[in-house]
């Protein structure tokens, strides 16, 4: 069973451990999530649970959205619905409400979010290229990528060449973030370090993949 929940990034701050070390933390509002559907190999070909987070006003939800939430879980339509893939049958049923207390005792999590969109970005911002010199005859090319390939051989630009283009607004997973605190009363989860996306952006929080694979290896 893989513990995973949906949530929202609240923002960052720092907290002090008892010995005085300041820990940079991201505050996540995680859960309560309703199990909207349980997927099984017989019906769907794989194990997963479909979770919904944050109620959506009925007037704003489409009729299929309302119907889906009501039919399976007898719940309000949700704003953020994602599946958590499972490796086997789960104890949770449709209509169960999962809270952040599931993460108590879990030391690290993977957090998936949508990174902040940067629009069309040049190679210096997007890939960390150095650009061209500021002087020595360089004119109007200071942020250019320079050469993008050789000459007649190969006679084309290689696939995957890092170039300017759209940056951000993509699905990003940060792995193995340490769980610093869990506050079930307030539905808050504190993880050490940053999380992709803007404040109030939706995130998927799962128990860390590294932790999951470790017991199997031993």
């Amino acid at each position: 069973m893989i513990v995973g929940l949906l949530g929202q990034k609240v923002g960052m701050t720092q907290i002090f451990e008892e010995d005085g070390t300041a820990v940079p933390v991201t505050v996540l509002r995680v859960g309560p999530c309703t199990v909207l559907q349980v997927k099984t190999p017989e019906r769907d070909g794989y194990y997963a649970i479909q979770l919904g987070f944050d109620d959506k006003p009925r007037g704003k939800a489409t009729k299929p959205e309302r119907g889906h939430a009501k039919k399976h879980a007898n719940a309000e339509p949700k704003r953020f619905i994602r599946e958590i893939r499972q490796d086997g049958p789960v104890d949770w049923k449709e209509g169960d409400v999962l809270t952040v207390s599931l993460f108590e005792g879990i030391s690290a999590v993977d957090v998936t979010g949508t990174s902040k969109g940067r629009g069309t970005a040049g190679t210096m911002k997007r890939w960390g290229f150095g650009g061209l010199p500021a002087s020595h005859g360089v004119k109007r090319k200071h942020r250019s990528p320079g050469s993008i390939g050789a000459t007649t051989d190969p006679g084309r630009v290689l696939k995957g060449k890092k170039m300017a283009g759209h940056m951000g607004n993509a699905r990003v997973t940060v792995r193995n973030l340490k769980v610093v605190r869990v506050y079930p009363e307030e539905n808050l989860l504190l993880v050490c370090g940053g999380v992709p996306g803007p404040n109030r952006g939706y995130v998927i929080v799962r128990q860390s993949k590294k932790l999951r694979s470790a017991p199997q290896a031993s």
């Binding site: 609240v10 923002g11 701050t13 720092q14 907290i15 002090f16 008892e18 010995d19 005085g20 300041a22 933390v25 505050v27 509002r29 605190r181 506050y183 307030e186 808050l188 504190l190 404040n199």
Partner: protein, 144 residues
């Protein structure tokens, strides 16, 4: 605006009572230092030249002169490593950051002492418990 959830989290780690530090105060900062198993207190005394940030992340910067060399240390005000802050004297200052002291040497780096209002004296006494009572009378003698 700070989200409510952040405030909730920060409140759990904030100190209940903060030393009433202001910019221009001459302070003794008692810092807890862990050396292996043992813990001891080190005192850093100087002038508060800046306060920065808010909430749990508020810090203050103390400047002192050590062997003719200016030394500044910035302390997180809510850090458990700050055992105590004693306010020795208060100075009359007209700005929030006293960075101009960095360019001053010797006598020019002094600040004009401020006569305390009654409630401030009480606050300082509360902060330092017993030791302040005799010091209070002497400072009044000096000013009169």
């Amino acid at each position: 605006m700070i989200p409510r959830e952040i405030q909730v989290v920060e409140e759990k780690f904030m100190k209940k009572e903060l030393p009433p530090i202001e910019v221009g105060d001459y302070v003794d900062v008692h810092v807890r230092i862990l050396e292996g198993e043992k813990e001891r207190i080190q005192v850093f005394s100087g002038v508060v030249i800046a306060k920065h940030g808010g909430g749990l992340r508020e810090t203050f910067t103390v400047r002192r002169i050590v062997q003719g060399e200016g030394v500044e240390r910035t302390f997180p005000i809510h850090s458990p490593r700050i055992a105590k802050v004693e306010i020795k004297r208060r100075a009359k200052v007209r700005r929030a950051k006293l960075y101009y002291l960095r360019d001053r040497v010797g006598k020019a780096a002094r600040l004009k002492e401020r006569r305390h209002r009654r409630e401030e004296l009480l606050a300082m006494q509360g902060n330092e418990q017993s030791s302040e009572a005799p010091a209070e009378s002497t400072s009044q003698e000096e000013t009169s």
